[in-house]
Amino acid sequence: MVEFTTEGLEALSKAIAIVGTGFASAWAEKVIGAAAIGAMVENESLFGKALVLTVLPETIVIFGLVVAILI
């Protein structure tokens, strides 16, 4: 019989918050990053804009972290 403790559930919730948002960030950055590299091959001066677009989804995992800390 599995017993659920408050601490255990808390830890699990934190893990889910981090894993879910981390995965979401990674997935989004993967898609954008590939497109950004493609654009930069065409025009190198797009580096700044490409960087901005690629790091946009990073915020998702920061939200996850904030939520995990607040739990």
Binding site: L51, V52, V55, E58, F63
Partner: protein, 657 residues
Amino acid sequence: MSYPKRMTKCLVAGHKKHLEAAVDSLHEAELLHVEDFVDGDNPDFEIGMPMQYGEEVSRKLVKIRSISNILNVKPTNGTVKLPESDVSKELDAKLEQMDSEIDRNTQEMSRLDTRVKDIEAAQKELLPFLAHDLDLKYFGGYDNIAVFSGTVSSFNESRLLEITDAYQLFTDSGSKFFVLFVSKKHEKGVQTFLADSGYRETRAPNKSGNPSDIYAALDVEKSEIHAQIEALIAERSTLNEKYGNFILAGDEFLSILSEKAELPLRIATSEHTFVIEGWVPTSNYDGFVAALSEKTGNGVYITTLEVDMHDNKEIAKIPVEYENSKFASPMEAVVDLYSRPKYNEIDPSSLIAISFPLVYGMILGDIGYALVLMTLAFLVMKFIKSDSVKKLMYVLIYCQISALFFGIIYGEFMGFPLAGYVYYGEYFPGLIPGLETIVYDYALFYGEPFTFPIHRSHLIMTFLAVTATFGFLHLNIGYIVGFFDVKGQHGLMHAVLEKLSWIVIEIGVIAAIIAWYLGLGTVGIAVGAVIAVIGVGMLTKGEGIKGPIELPGLLGNILSYTRIIAVGLSSIYIASTVNDIAFGGLIWTPADGFSVLMFVSILVFVLGHSLNTVLSIIAPGLHALRLQYVEFFGKFYASGGKAYKPFGHLKKYIMEE
């Protein structure tokens, strides 16, 4: 806060006989950003023809660049600056001389290359025949014997015996290569048998002698040729040393001539006159006019042109040159990485010269890493002279000064706490014996009293609040800058509606929260709410429906600043994990005394911290940059200006007299 350098639009016109003198002095002045003339803009003018000497210059330029390519001339070959007159005088003779010396070398080289390829092809052909090493003369020239050589997928000798027993077979189990001699009588039958077995013919080379002897002879020839090629390469490097410096100077001399020769292609000309339009920094305008008039003997007419500062198309044409203090100018590289400011907007270099290192320092905040990276930056500056690298190193140094400052506040050295502290009753010693953390009697959150030095990992909630507040302030600086930008471009009304409205909304929300917190009741909250609604109304009027849609984004932007603590913590945890693995008892602890394992521990320590140092440049740098680019710039910065590129040439390898 400053605007880009002010530019004056000017027009240089004159008789065509003065064109060459005008182009020469424009090139020397290196101030005029030429605006290209577009054919059809004005029916009385057309694009000019390149100068007559242009064709010859291009021809020589192609030649000198091909020589430079063959000799592998690098910028490092430019050891001394050569006088311009010498380069001009000697160019033709030297080109001739270099050409003849290199021509012989390249021809010989290509002959040898071809021979090596031939040899390699011949050796490849011989390869299968090496196994049996039968003299190649036996593979042909018979009246009554047929020869088959090649590979089959599987050789069934019993089926061959059914056809004939008059044969001689050589097989090689490894490569499935075989040679078969049969009587001509049975040639047809054997052919059918082989075709069924998946036969692929490999013809013997038309030579005589043992394959292994031929192969070895070819090997000898190949190594002789390689020696000759080496000699030719050595000759090239001698030539490189002899001519490298001159080639660079000659290339530059010819490039300058070519630029001058081609300028007429960018300007308007009529039958007898030429007109050049362009931009000169306003502060240099008087000097520019004086220099040009003097050099051309007053042969050209120069005047300023009016610019309509309400016409966005016209503004977009104005080239943008930064004008910053010495302190902020390294940041131009960071702004350029994003995009240059427009002519009529505030250049954010001086703003991020403060906020970028500040955020970086808050994230990294480690005395050890700051010192390592600062030393690295100084070393790079000492050994690499490139201007763009220097600028980036200055940025790195600013960041490290800030990281050092926060390192002292956080009391961290390479991930170790400097001062000892008590956490939940347990005592953790610091790196400096006797230095203890001072605990103050004040806390923002329960269980997180302020301390000095501040231990980040024990003040997480406090830091979340502090970093979010920092973000809130930073973003509002963005709105205020945006307010002045819009005010300058479209007037006060637009500025209030588009930018001030955000601040009104914030005030409303904060008022409501304070009223709720202080228990002022519904009236207090309602006052705040009304202010916020007024703000939203203003925003909708200013930005349209897209304004309110962006509202929740503001919260996201503020929370995004909590990465300052998040990334900082990750760096601490990596560092302290490395310390735990190295000296925490997994491998070795100082209590174990001297042993071989101590060196393993030290190796882990050095490798782990090297990794963290590299991450410490990349992670805080990228995250600090991102907060400037995405969150901060997003509030005011339009960007997209055109870089100011004056007509002229920085002389690197030739010297003016």
